[in-house]
Symmetry: C2
Subunit: 203 residues, 2 copies
């Protein structure tokens, strides 16, 4: 049985539990800290939430977060708009950006298809992708969803939806991670790494 | 190098890091969730923070959280006001309440003395305790700070400050936990448990 705190605190604890993976104990710790914040910090905290929610919306092209109509990537003329990298979420986009070297644009799905979790194609931004590829005459779609079951399901589904369009569809390569030793690789990764072997061409 | 998100999001991430033990990755997750909350939930979240900060203050007697002048424990006539249990924080108070059986009142220190962390006696509510014991002619003070170094230091300090007053000063017992097996007890606990042995009186 959980003890009850006084009503305003109890209410705050409940609301903090809206955050992902925050249980009651963590919510209590956060609530206590919020109550202890100096007024300036508390005001800044509240303002940050309101301001972020007001100012940030989704890019009308790729669903990245933006303050304007188009995100900084879609509106950058140096990016190759004919190549679209399809990712599950903004954190995936940031990961690809962090790797540098990719000069195309993105399309954020906001999730994956997951029959087990009851998420179908209609729950992610799939149709806007198809419309975009058709309209913009995209040359290549790189599917960069995760390499797990849901990511693969989503990848297959996207491939099929785009199959009739004149666009090249590619998928991230499976393989060993940089610096990875064979003895520590799981069997599936190792097998995929062998299947995807690349010819060494000595020029 | 951490990537930068757009300014309102970056600001929100920084503010979320005011919460205890929240690193950048967790803050990003929380920020994303806050942005995704339906408007009703977001409003309730903001209101909960504001409301809790406005309504909740400290009990003028014991520093417990309260909406009124006195907390629910200090204002409860069934509680024995002549026995004060001194705890580090509200979570400790809740733990004692959860154990049931204690019918006295509390005094919350809001921390411990910790020379290593630069916290001295002036950083916790010690003087109000001494004044309270003097004024209310308290019969017993049970020191229930933690059993670690800081808790013990604080306990010793409190004992000395109250030494000249006509009040009984007691400390929580060290010993084995209920259901604890000897083979798993650490040496200090076991030794303290032997030192604090209780006579069995067969009536």
């Amino acid at each position: 049985m959980d003890e009850q705190y006084i009503a305003p605190l109890e209410n705050l604890i409940q609301k903090i539990r809206l955050l992902p993976a925050v249980g009651r104990k963590t919510a209590i710790k956060y609530a206590m800290r919020i109550l202890e914040l100096p007024p300036d910090n508390a005001d800044a905290f509240l303002f940050a939430i309101q301001n972020a929610r007001e100012k940030i919306h989704r890019c009308s092209k790729c669903f990245n977060m933006t303050e304007g109509e188009l995100c900084s990537i879609c509106s950058d003329p140096r990016r190759d708009a004919s190549t679209i990298c399809v990712v599950e979420d903004i954190r995936s986009l940031m990961a690809v950006e962090r790797a540098k070297g990719y000069r195309g644009v993105y399309h954020i799905l906001d999730g994956t298809i997951s029959p087990i979790d009851g998420r179908g194609p209609e729950n992610i931004h799939l149709l806007p992708l198809v419309e975009r590829v058709e309209k913009e005459k995209t040359k290549e779609v790189i599917i960069a969803t995760g390499m797990g079951v849901d990511g693969e399901t989503t990848s297959m589904y996207i491939s099929r939806m785009l199959a009739n369009l004149p666009v090249k569809i590619t998928r991230l390569a499976y393989g060993l991670p940089a610096g990875g030793e064979l003895e520590f690789a799981d069997e599936i990764t190792l097998l995929k790494s062998i299947e995807g072997r690349q010819e060494i061409i000595i020029s």
